[in-house]
Structures are given as structure tokens and as C-alpha cells.
Amino acid sequence: MRAFSYEKPADPAAAAARAAEVEGAKFLAGGTNLLDLMKLEIETPLHVIDVNGLGLDEITETEEGGLRIGTLVTNTALSADARIRRDYPLLTRAIAAGATGQLRNKATTGGNLLQRTRCPYFYDTNQPCNKRVPGSGCAALSEGAFSRQLGVIGTSDACIATHPSDMAVAMRALDAVVETVTPTGMTREIPLEEFHLLPGDTPEQETALMPGELITHVRLPAPVGGVQEYHKVRDRASYAFALVSVALIRQADGSGRVALGGVAPKPWRSDAADAELPNGASAVMSVLLDGARPTEENAFKITLAERTLAAMLKES
């Protein structure tokens, strides 16, 4: 870990302003991802702006009938909230499927959206990685590499990493919107769909946030009802990132929404694929995973995603 300076700003706008002003600044929320990465010198902030204590830790009801989640609401508090459990059970299920109780007690809403990939080469500073060191190459795409967990769609020749969050997959299915404050004190709204970027030639740019921009809230639109399920598939029963996860909202008429985790650099969903839901898992996946470019080691994720959805749709 490199030496860094530290401050606790007075309010969200000040935090954003300072983050833009001080070179190499980073926000610290729960720290469960940032601190790990700092210890390994994958993240090397020169200045840490601790956003804990800025408020932003409440869940309030919106006029449109939805909920507004402060960025510092912990994963534990969010998943346990009675309104979330009643109206957005998908979110509770997805959060509870991630990490462990101790981690969820620290992990925050904004931090969870911004957690970085679990690509093993990203984690090993001896290896080339375009996401960690732009232009250094992608070890995961080289001959003989270990790519079983990595992405199959939305990836590029520069990077095939996935976004590891479970919570974000549910939020994508729920059409969540990220609210921010910019360094100039303006507020901004970014639909989750547009929040995470595809890697293209610049895998180091992961989100639509501008330098210094602070997430203040995540807003959920009015509840959409239906049966909401999250199936996370992994090799062991707990404490592992998803090989594939499927978030499903299914209405009585057979329509609904599907989002995938573990397959792409962002939660993966499309309207066209949702429209195929009445036609079954195979129809959904042939649209949703159209254009997939898996490696030899992770091609199984395509079959796995389809079969997982089939299980949730009780197809037999």
C-alpha cells in the first residue's frame, strides 16, 4: 500500500469538489474493495476522501412510489429493509447471494456498484492487464490463460473481464437510476443501463462517472410486482462470485425481465430479450447472448445461462 493523505469532507458537494481538485483522489465507503486493492497496489490513491458520515444512509420513499437508497446504506441494511423485501425481493435475494455477512455489513450501495473485476490477472501485478495498466496487454487473452470465470459477451480484444456484482444485476432488472453530485455541485441521473461501460479499447474506464463525481443515491422506480427470483450459480455453495447469475421478474401473463451476471462487463439485459420471455429460456438467450465470443474455457456459460433460466421458468 502506498502512503496517502486522508480527509473527511463536510458534505457530498464538497466531497465531489475535493475529489476533482486533489490529484489521485479516491472515495472510501465500506472499503471492502478499495482497501484490498490498495494493499496489492492495484489501486494507488494519493488521497482518500472518506464519505462515511455524510448522511446518505437512509432509504426514503419517492413521489413516484419507488425508493431512494442513500449510497451509504449497507448491503445488509438494504437487503433487510422491509419495503425492499416486500416490493423488490429480487434485490434482497441478489444481495444475500453475495459475499458474506461480515462483508455485507460494511459494503455500501455505491461501493458495490463500483467494485472492480475479479479477473485473476487484474489481481496479479506481475501480469499485463489493460484494465490495471492501460496498454500493457491482456494476460487473460493470451495463449494458455485461465479464463474460465471471465466474460463471454460485451467484451473486447482489450479485456474480457466481468463485473462481479450481484446487487447490480438485480438493480439492472429493476431499472434503477444512479443519482450523483458532480464536482461543480450539479446533480445528475444516470440509468443503471448506461452506468457501466463496455471495455472497447479503454477497459480502464468502467463507468459513466466523470472524475470526482460522487454517487449520492440509487433510485428504484415504483415496484413492478411479479415473481422475482435470483439464481446464482457457482462451484461451491457460498462465498464465491457467480459463474452465471440470472435475475428474473416474471409476471402472471408470462412477460417479464431477465438480467445476467457473471457473463459480461456489466449486468446484461436487453429489451428484445425480455420480449422473448413468453417463448422460453432458449428464445431469451438466443437474443440476449447473440454475438457472444466466449473462450474455450468459458463457453459453458452460454449453456449454463440458458439452463439456469429454464430452471427458473420451470421448463422441463
Binding site: 475479479r118 496479479d124 485461465f146 439464481h231 459453458f300 439452463r307 439456469t308
Partner: protein
């Protein structure tokens, strides 16, 4: 004490302490966090500074330049030692790659520098400032399948009995399949750690985490070219080893070099990635197994050929270890090949050989049972043997494999299971049952101890280690039994090179050997006490010594009495095959859609001679079963064949079983005694619990799905396209 013939009767026949369930005596220290582990020797080395290692960043090659200037100037740094500044160190016992010194890189994360600083954070940060330039070695062929193809059929068989070709030609049924087991990391909780005081560059004290004090002691002397007398090694608490701490590793070497350079004691723990790529691991294996059987279900031919990799001069996993002895059959051919590859070092891991071998052989047995239309339990029973089938003049000392199978089948309700693969379902889950046989050799080693009677207290000194297994407790039980004393009056002093040399902990020889050593020392003490009292015959019971006219409490003996002895194993044991046996039964669920596999029920039945303490023995067996679940379903050191290293080098990516993976576990110990094995008629059990577990799970997966998977771990990517369509 020489163990020269099978035990007839001795004091353990009426044991009051040995064989009884007793909570481990070091338990309170551990659960209160006060057991001093190697990295936390604030009691012994309160001024120790922090060492942090740097590992090589390439698979193999040469270092052309190192620049540690920035690291030396970093805040808090007291010393930096780079590998280029040190002549290549000598290699200690079973070290294949050099632990430090010189410019050659033999494997990824081989240690290339150590930084000593005032705080851990400073040492770690400074290590990242060291610049290293490499010249990479020529690309290596790391394809073990291709290597197997090349070596298959070459070389003299390790075992060759009878006319194998004829047996296969005439067989009613033949199985001929390839099996794969992956590289495995020991993944014990406590990484390799040492605190070393070599501050004067003269005498050295090493507080370490090691299974074998004496080997470690010798290896340190060899490595640094100093006299063993000047080194003291202590390892009283070890947070797991599983074989990875049998040998001297880089933690102690770097801490020593750092201590000498900085002139202060230094402590150093290997970061987890270095546990995986710097230390040793169990090599992957490729195995071809051919079985021939007659219509009566008797095996007529067993042909097992395997390959594993290792660094030149090293040892790979010998997956054929059990094949010469486990099952009957008149003909057999067995050959293990070891292929040189520039990969991190391979060496022993819990049940080296049998663990990987049975993962394959016990699937093959299941396949043959099916071909014969026999129940797999019955098929194994039919092929039991009471003599070493490769050398029929040699009987097993004591073998109750059939009873293990029968008791297990009954307790598990085996007869009630569904026998048509894919035929039982519980919601989305396909349910299956599997069985596998377990075998692990019963080794013993010489082992010594000193017994001291002092004011009614008995002190036992031995360099035996307790790697979480319960040695403190069972040795105290053995001593108390032998001296006719209360366990509470026994003080165990262990794992210090100042004490008599023991067997150490490894190869499940620790418990049988070291209890015998303590027994020998206590018998010597009895003799001395009797002699001091002028008694020809003496009895030791209830804390008293009686004989002739004497009847006195041991606490009345004022002078300290001390005796030292060691157990030596007589040649007569060579006239027997000694092993431990077991049977594993499991119930698994395989998700019909996703192929996720979860174990639902586990039972192990063990035949391992006298069980010295059922509580600690059970812990060993259930721990082995947990490790078997990991081996079956998730553990896999992911080899990057282009870069020559294991890429998933942390505990997030190398997936051992977690709590949620482990169902109800049951263990049954058969009430057996092996008079050939040791004076206590006991054998080890710590490795038996792992042997065969993974195959039982694989067989359960087959029974659940009808899909046979021969490559471990059985992750869904290997069979999802073979699951029934949905």
C-alpha cells in the same frame, strides 16, 4: 525400546485413559487466541521487526538486474536483501528449487528479495519498490496429457505380477479409462510463517510453523552452512500443514537473512499467493486405469499407469501408490512416471499418492461393478484380500476392509438407494449415492521422548509437533496411562529442537509413532523409579507405585527422576503389509438444470487400529472428508500453460469447501487392534479420512445423473452438455 514382535498383552489392554474421548488440552489456548503461533511470538521476540518477501514475476528464467535503492530508502526500512547479493544457498531436505540466492528463477514466486521494516505496511510497500528485470526461459511444454502420451508404456513397471496381457484378453469385462486429478494447494489457514533471531549472525533461534522439527533443524543448518548445535527450532502451534510444512521453506530462510542483515529478530509470513506458487503443492495427475474381471466379479487384472509433473530432481504425486496392495487380483502392472516441468515445486500433501490414486481407481471400480451388474459394495467385498496381492507371502497385519463396507452399507441404508442412474429426483435436484473404498499405508517412524517425574507431576519432552491434530492430548493420555497417573498431572512440552527427536507429524505416522515413543520413555522412567526404590517389579496405578513392601504416591518421590528413550521398529514388521482401511458413503444432489453439485450426507467407516482419542480422531476424519468435498467439487490450481504459473493464487479463486458445502457427517470407527503396528496397537487416521471421498462423490454424481465424469474437480463445465436435455 525395540519393537521386535507383535504385542501380546500390555498395559493398554485395560486402558483407562487411552481410547477415551478427551477434549484437546490446548483447546482453551486456541479459542482464547493465546496459543503463540509463529508470527505472534511477542512473548519470545517482542522486538521482532517485520519482514516481507518478494517473489519472482516469471515462470522460469534468469534475473538480469535488480535495483533495491528505492526500497532501501523507503520509510521505516531497516534492511533489504536481494537474491543477487547472496550466493545460492544450499538446499535442505527435499528442497528441489533453491529457497534463495543467485540469479536463477526456477518457478513463479520463487523468493527474490526480503525487506525488513518497522511495520508490516512499510515492509510490504517497500517490497513493491524493488525493480527486477528478467530474461525469460524458453517456453516449456506444460501439457501433462501430451507428456503421458509420450511416456506411456515406457520404462520398467514398478510392479509386475503375472501375465497381465492374458488376463485382459480372457476377461469377461474390461474397463479402460483415462482419469485426471488437478494440482491442489494445501490451503491451511496459517500461511508459512517464522520469527527468526539471527541478529548476531551467530546463534539462531527459529520460531516457526513446521511439522518436522528435526528435518527443519537439519535443513536450516545445511542451508546456511552452520552447525546444528547453534540453532534452536520451536514450533509449538501450527495452524495446519497438510504436508506443506514438512520441509524448510522460504519464510524461515528470508526471516533469517533479514534478521542477520537488520541485526534484530524478524518475523515473516508468506502472503497467500506465495503459499500457492512459492511453496509446494500436490501435482496434477493423468491416469490410465484398466481393470479386467471374470463373471464371478473377481478382478483378474489391474493395470494402472500414471504421470505427474515436478521440477527436475523432484517428486511428483504417485497416484499408483495403493494399486499394488489394495485389491485382490492375480495379475497387475503398475507404473508411475514423473515428468520434468518448470512449475512451482510439488511434494507431499495429505495422503500423498493414495489421495489422487483413489480418486481414479475408485471410479474405475464403480465402472467395473456396473459392467458386471454387481452392487459396488459387493464388488469390493469380493475383491478383498488378506495378503499383499503383489507378494502373497506377506499377510496384512490387520485388515477389516470388508467390515468397513458392510457396517457402512448398513448404517447408510445403502440397500434402499436407487440403482438406476438418473432415477431419483427431489424437485430440481437429481439425487445419487456413491461409495468408495479407502486405503492409506500405515507408516511408523522412530520416535523419542523424555519423561520426567517431578514432585508428582509428569513432564514429557519431545520434539513432536501438534499441527492441529491433537498430539498434545493423545501424548498426555499415553503418558498418563503408562505411568498410572491422572492426565491433569501431565505437562506436555513439545516441538522444540532441544527435546528428543520424534517422528514429527506427517504421512499419518505421527500419532502411532510418537505415542509409542512416549510409551517407551515412560517405561524407561518406570524402570528407573522402580530401580531407585529397589523394586524388581513395580506397578503404577492411581498415581502410586507399588511393589514388594512399597506403596507410595508418586508425589512423595522428592527427587526429580528423568528417563529418555525412543521407539525403534524391528524388522519383523517387514513380514507384514500394514495399512488403514475405510469406506466412504455419500449422498449427493446434482441440479438437473445447472449441474451444481452439493453433498447431502456423508459417512466414513474407518479401520485404523486402536483409536487413541475418539474426539480428536473424529476431527481428523471429518476434516479429511471436508477436504475430499473440495477435491471432488471445486479445488483446482488453474495452470496458465503460457506463463507457467497457477493463476488462481488466492482463497477467493482457489475454492476449498466452505461451511455451506458440508452436510451432516458421520464417522464410525471399527473396534480393531493391530498388534503388529505399535505397542498401542494403533495406526494413523489423519489421512485415511480423505482417501476415497472424492471418488465416492463422483460415483454419487454418476448415480444421480447417469453421466460419468473422470476429470476432477467435477464442475458443471465438464458435464453440463451431457446432462439430460431440459
Amino acid at each position: 525400546m525395540e519393537f521386535t514382535k507383535p504385542v501380546e498383552s500390555n498395559l493398554f489392554d485395560n486402558a483407562k485413559v487411552v481410547g477415551k474421548p478427551m477434549q484437546r488440552i490446548d483447546g482453551p489456548l486456541k479459542v482464547t487466541g493465546t496459543a503463540p503461533y509463529a508470527y505472534e511470538r511477542n512473548d519470545a521476540a517482542p522486538d521482532a521487526l517485520y519482514g516481507y518477501p518478494l517473489g519472482a514475476g516469471i515462470g522460469h528464467g534468469r534475473i538480469t538486474r535488480m535495483d533495491a535503492e528505492a526500497a532501501r530508502n523507503a520509510p521505516g526500512v531497516r534492511a533489504v536483501v536481494t537474491t543477487l547479493e547472496i550466493d545460492p544457498l544450499e538446499k535442505g531436505m527435499n528442497n528441489v528449487a533453491r529457497l534463495f540466492g543467485g540469479d536463477e528463477v526456477q518457478h513463479y514466486h520463487q523468493a527474490v528479495a526480503v525487506v525488513v521494516a518497522d511495520t508490516f505496511e512499510q515492509a510490504r510497500a517497500a517490497s513493491a519498490l524493488i525493480e527486477v528485470e528478467y530474461e525469460e526461459g524458453a517456453p516449456a511444454d506444460l501439457d501433462l496429457d501430451a507428456a503421458f502420451e509420450r511416456v506411456q508404456g515406457t520404462g520398467e513397471p514398478d510392479t509386475l505380477v503375472g501375465d497381465v496381457d492374458a488376463a485382459f484378453r480372457d476377461a469377461a469385462q474390461v474397463v479402460d479409462q483415462m482419469y485426471h486429478t488437478p494440482g491442489e494447494s494445501h490451503t491451511m489457514m496459517e500461511p508459512h510463517s517464522s520469527t527468526v533471531d539471527w541478529s548476531g549472525g551467530e546463534d539462531m533461534t527459529v520460531w516457526t510453523s513446521n511439522q518436522m522439527i528435526n528435518w527443519n533443524h537439519q535443513s536450516i543448518a545445511t542451508t546456511f552452512g552452520i552447525d546444528q548445535e547453534r540453532i534452536r527450532v520451536e514450533s509449538p502451534y501450527v495452524g495446519g500443514g497438510f504436508g506443506s510444512k514438512l520441509w524448510l521453506r522460504a519464510d524461515a530462510v528470508l526471516a533469517a537473512l533479514g534478521s542477520r542483515a537488520a541485526g534484530v529478530p524478524v518475523k515473516l509470513a508468506l502472503p497467500r499467493p506465495m503459499v500457492m506458487n512459492n511453496t509446494t503443492h500436490r501435482s496434477a495427475t493423468v491416469q490410465r486405469i484398466r481393470l479386467a474381471a471374470g463373471t464371478d466379479g473377481k478382478l483378474t487384472g489391474i493395470w494402472h499407469e500414471a504421470a505427474a509433473y515436478c521440477l527436475p530432481g523432484g517428486r511428483g504425486e504417485n497416484a499408483t501408490a495403493q494399486t499394488p496392495v489394495f485389491y485382490a487380483g492375480e495379475t497387475r502392472r503398475v507404473k508411475n512416471h514423473v515428468v520434468d516441468m518448470p512449475l512451482p515445486e510439488t511434494a507431499d500433501m495429505r495422503a500423498p499418492g493414495e489421495a489422487s490414486g483413489l480418486m481414479a481407481l475408485e471410479i474405475a471400480m464403480d465402472e467395473m461393478a456396473e459392467k458386471l451388474g454387481m452392487d459396488p459394495v459387493q464388488f469390493r467385498i469380493v475383491n478383498d484380500t488378506q495378503v499383499n496381492p503383489s507378494d502373497p507371502d506377506i499377510p496384512f497385519s490387520d485388515r477389516h476392509f470388508v467390515e468397513c463396507l458392510e457396517r457402512g452399507a448398513e448404517a447408510f441404508n445403502w440397500s434402499q438407494r436407487n440403482t438406476s442412474p438418473g432415477g431419483q429426483r427431489d424437485g430440481d435436484w437429481l439425487i445419487g449415492h456413491g461409495v468408495a473404498g479407502a486405503y492409506r499405508g500405515a507408516l511408523v517412524m522412530p520416535s523419542g521422548a523424555r519423561a520426567i517425574l517431578d514432585g508428582g507431576k509428569l513432564i514429557i519432552e519431545t520434539d513432536m509437533t501438534d499441527i492441529g491434530t491433537g498430539s498434545y492430548t493423545i501424548l498426555a493420555q499415553t503418558a498418563a496411562e503408562t505411568m498410572g497417573m491422572d492426565v491433569a498431572d501431565v505437562e506436555m512440552r513439545m516441538a522444540n529442537s532441544a527435546y528428543p527427536v520424534s517422528s514429527g507429524s506427517g504421512g499419518q505416522f505421527g500419532a502411532p509413532s510418537s505415542t509409542s515413543g512416549v510409551y517407551a520413555a515412560c517405561m524407561a522412567l518406570r524402570e528407573k523409579i522402580a530401580g531407585n526404590l529397589g523394586l524388581d517389579e513395580a506397578e503404577f496405578n492411581g498415581g502410586r507405585v507399588t511393589g514388594g513392601d512399597t506403596d507410595m504416591a508418586l508425589s512423595e518421590i522428592n527427587e526429580e527422576v528423568s528417563a529418555e528413550d525412543a521407539i525403534q521398529w524391528g524388522d519383523f514388521q517387514k513380514g507384514y503389509a500394514m495399512g488403514t482401511f475405510g469406506a466412504h458413503f455419500v449422498e449427493v444432489g446434482v441440479h438437473a438444470y445447472t449441474g451444481e453439485t452439493r453433498v447431502r450426507r456423508m459417512l466414513a467407516v474407518c479401520d485404523a487400529g486402536r483409536i487413541i482419542n475418539p474426539i480428536t480422531a473424529r476431527s481428523q476424519v471429518i476434516g479429511g472428508m471436508v477436504m475430499g468435498v473440495g477435491a471432488a467439487l471445486s479445488e483446482d490450481m488453474a495452470l496458465d500453460t503460457g506463463r507457467g504459473f497457477f493463476a488462481n493464487h488466492d482463497m477467493a479463486n482457489y475454492e476449498v469447501a466452505v461451511h455451506a458445502d458440508i452436510p451432516e457427517q458421520e464417522v464410525i470407527f471399527l473396534d480393531t487392534l493391530d498388534a503388529v503396528a505399535t505397542p498401542l496397537k494403533a495406526k494413523g487416521v489423519g489421512e485415511l479420512g480423505l482417501c476415497g471421498v472424492a471418488a465416492a462423490i463422483a460415483n454419487g454424481v454418476y448415480n444421480a445423473t447417469g453421466v460419468r465424469v473422470r476429470d476432477y474437480p467435477l464442475t458443471m463445465d465438464k458435464f453440463i452438455d451431457r446432462l439430460p436435455a431440459v
